[in-house]
Amino acid sequence: MRRAALLLLTLVTLAGCGATSNQEAAAGELAVERAAMHPGTIDLFVHNGTARRTTLAQVAIDSGFVGFSGPATAVAAGGDAVLTVPYPWVRGEGYTVKVITGDGATLDYRIDPQ
């Protein structure tokens, strides 16, 4: 629970061509704020609302590690990052996303069925 205060579970509603509505991260939080679905890939939008640089080290979808593209360096305090995940997502199915930071904290996010 030591890092639980850093975590935020945001709900997302998929609409249109894949952009999502979402809740913003509260001030001081590190969170996945929204997801955008594209054919064969998922973009995860992360905001670092904390006062410290953070590395986004690993991504898991539905309890399985996945490859992704993202920032080459740590995300600065107040900064944003997009993680692009190649993933064979299926219309009508929901997904759980977990981003693991360099110090092991996890950012949980739920993608509702499109």
């Binding site: 890092r3 952009a19 509505s21 991260a25 955008a36 690993q58 898991a60 600065a76 360099g102």
Partner: protein
């Protein structure tokens, strides 16, 4: 900016515009190596970072230092130190482990049935710890609070002395409270007691199944054998066709009630706890609760690559997966 992004999405603005707006303040992208993808591309945690290599751990047995007592009994002495140490589990993910001798799992201690064991334990951690052995021994050396030396304070030492018995595959772990925290941080290892007449020659491998709760929420985020997820995918475990392979399999996974071992395209004879010369089962999958362990023996008939993993998909895809390369 984030507010505007959210509003734009809600208002139906196409994603490309929103992404372009966001990208202006974002770091340049690069391809990341996840544990799984890294394994497929031949990259995993650099053993130099942690000071231990899962490929060495799998065949590493600490037989201690021996001498004969006046009565002719083998006296076998081990040195174990508890140390706090950050370890890199998956590429980029650091975990504040508690270790025995700087590694997770701790050294695989090995003795013969009937040896007199003296295990000197030094607590170099900032937290109280102990050594609790499975097997048969007196209560005074059980390594639990209230039993003789009990839990050892930081900076203190003690020596556990008992006769190794019965033959089989056993364990040792910290028994300080809260138990879950001490095991989840990495304070455990395998303890092999060989029969007096020894076992048949074999290529022997130790596989300690474990998990890591990186965010301390009471659930594991990463699974492995010998701690580093996908280490044996990135670099297969090499074995010889037709040679007897003996696997010492133990489950030290905290937080999950069970773990399992499965090998592809082959079956093995399974000896629960290794305490009988007769196998209980001929199978390709075994289930173990926490603390359960057993010996599996098999010979690969054909060359090639054979996967092994937990037969729990979540554990498998979160790191507990490897490959035997038979040649």
């Amino acid at each position: 900016m984030l507010c505007s992004l959210a509003s734009a999405a809600t208002a139906g603005v196409v994603r490309h515009g929103a992404r372009a707006q966001a990208a202006s303040s974002m770091p340049m992208p690069m391809k990341h190596d996840t544990a799984f993808m890294a394994s497929l591309r031949g990259r995993t945690v650099d053993p130099k970072v942690n000071g231990f290599d899962p490929h060495a751990v799998i065949r590493d047995f600490d037989r201690g230092k021996t001498h004969r007592s006046a009565t002719g009994r083998v006296v076998r002495e081990f040195e174990i130190e508890a140390l706090d140490k950050d370890i890199e589990l998956a590429p980029g993910v650091t975990f504040p482990a508690w270790t025995y001798n700087g590694r997770v799992p701790g050294p695989t201690l090995r003795a013969s049935e009937g040896d007199l064991l003296r295990i000197r334990f030094a607590n170099g951690s900032q937290h109280p710890h102990s050594l609790h052995f499975h097997g048969i021994h007196a209560a005074r050396v059980d390594g639990v609070p209230g039993a003789a030396a009990g839990v050892i304070a930081p900076g203190q030492t003690t020596t556990y002395e008992f006769v190794a018995r019965p033959f089989g595959l056993h364990l040792y772990h910290c028994h300080a409270f809260p138990l879950a925290a001490h095991l989840a941080r990495g304070l455990y290892g395998a303890f092999v007691v060989d029969p007096k007449d020894s076992r048949a020659d074999a290529d022997e491998l130790v596989m300690v199944m474990n998990g890591f709760d990186t965010d301390a929420d009471g659930e594991n985020d990463i699974y492995a054998v010998n701690s580093i997820p996908f280490a044996y995918m990135a670099r297969p475990v090499r074995v010889k066709r037709g040679e007897l392979v003996r696997l010492y399999i133990a489950n030290l996974t905290e937080y999950d009630p069970v773990n399992s071992f499965h090998v592809h395209a082959n079956l093995f004879e399974y000896f629960p706890t290794g305490t009988s010369p007769f196998p209980s089962e001929y199978t390709d999958t075994v289930l173990q609760c926490q603390g359960q362990r057993g010996i599996a023996e098999l010979r690969f008939e054909d060359p090639g690559r054979y996967m092994f993993h937990a037969h729990q998909s979540e554990f498998t895809e979160l790191g507990w997966m490897g490959v035997f390369e038979v040649s």
